[in-house]
């Protein structure tokens, strides 16, 4: 199987710039969220549509960013 519908966009959550990446394989969409400054992916989800996958991944991202204390 091949990947298709690869897309990225940047958002700001809790003061962090994050990049949301999503693509489809085998009829499922996969989404991930990375911190742009750090360059590391920290939330991921799958879904039947791009919107579903991104929504779940972004919920996880919001929760993890809220738990990352700044000093």
């Amino acid at each position: 199987m091949n990947t298709h519908d690869y897309a990225t966009r940047d958002l700001e959550i809790h003061g962090w710039t994050v990049r949301v990446t999503s693509y489809a394989t085998g009829g499922r969409y996969h989404a991930s969220v990375e911190s742009v400054d750090v360059g590391a992916r920290f939330a991921r989800a799958d879904g039947a549509t791009r919107e579903e996958a991104e929504s779940i991944a972004l919920d996880k991202a919001r929760e993890r960013l809220a738990r990352t204390p700044r000093r």
Binding site: N2, T3, T21, G39, A40, F42, R64
Partner: protein, 291 residues
């Protein structure tokens, strides 16, 4: 296949040793090459199961490339067993790739060099570029015929330990380079969001220059040209005439930059301090710089 930015061919980028990188196109053309073993190593250890380069085996950095009891890389015998069980012989060309622009693929590369494996390369752009280009993925585990493998004793000239770094802090006899994000370097955060390995104190090792690992990559994950890389490091005072020690949080981002300095730029003496900030930032009484 999807179009991505046009990258300068690897052999035209001016690298000191261009043989350590292969393109996604090259990998796509060697999926069935019996002399090549492709290995995926990710930060997110579940990525392999969501689809991988056909024929690739997956290594879990946290269980297969680390000693599970002592904080250390795997010992020589365990390394040889992993290589053999992965279908890798001493003459096999190992192609490493992974997520986050090859963070842990570079860490695996560093370990393969420590144990003397000659033919090892990174896939330029890593998993991200493979996906972005719409290339084929497989959900099937690789069919592997085990091979016999002999590992060399560890080459510790590639690795820095705590006493080495402590000596450098005093003597300033080497360049210390911190590959973490500016927020980690300044102590604003202790670790990146969602990554569990942390420490008691924030800041950086005295005298270190902050050159975040991602500066060496293009938007598509490929490495920048040698001229661009030289400008980044030499612009921060990290020059080839002095030894260099790289560090980050647990040693994976710094192995990525170690790879750049040693192989793409040809610096003669580069060591990766894999104890990194999770060692230094937990030491009682260790000096810390924090603006």
């Amino acid at each position: 296949m999807a179009q991505t930015q046009t990258a300068i061919p690897i052999e035209q980028r001016g690298y000191a040793d261009p043989r350590v990188l292969v393109s996604t196109e090259w990998v796509a053309g060697h999926l069935n090459d019996p002399n090549v073993r492709i290995v995926e190593v990710d930060v997110d250890t579940t990525s392999y199961d969501q689809g991988h380069v056909p024929g690739a085996v997956g290594w879990n950095w946290s269980t297969q490339l680390c000693d599970p009891v002592v904080r250390d890389i795997i010992p020589q015998a365990q390394f040889a067993r992993l290589m053999g069980e992965s279908g890798i012989g001493n003459d096999t060309t190992v192609v490493l790739y992974g997520d986050n622009n090859n963070w842990f693929a570079a860490w695996a590369f560093w370990q393969l060099k420590i144990y003397g494996h000659e033919n090892v390369v990174l896939m330029d752009g890593g998993r991200k570029k493979w996906l972005e280009e719409g290339r084929e993925l497989s959900m099937e585990p690789a069919a592997v015929a085990p091979r016999s493998y002999t590992a060399n004793p560890p080459d510790l000239s590639l690795r820095a330990f705590l006493p080495d770094v402590q000596a450098v802090v005093t003597s300033r006899s080497a360049s210390l380079v911190d590959m973490r994000s500016p927020q980690e370097f300044t102590g604003e955060i202790l670790s990146p969001p969602g990554l569990p390995e942390t420490c008691q104190r924030g800041g950086h090792i005295p005298g270190a220059a902050n050159i975040p690992w991602g500066k060496v990559c293009n938007e598509d994950g490929t490495f920048k040209t040698a001229d661009e890389l030289r400008a980044i490091y030499e612009g921060a005072g990290v020059t080839p005439d002095r030894p260099v020690i790289t560090y980050c949080r647990i040693g994976e981002r710094s192995s990525h930059s170690w790879f750049v300095l040693k192989y793409l730029l040809g610096y003669g003496d580069v060591r990766n301090y894999d104890g990194s900030w999770t060692e230094w930032g937990n030491l009682v009484g260790a000096p810390v710089e924090k603006p």
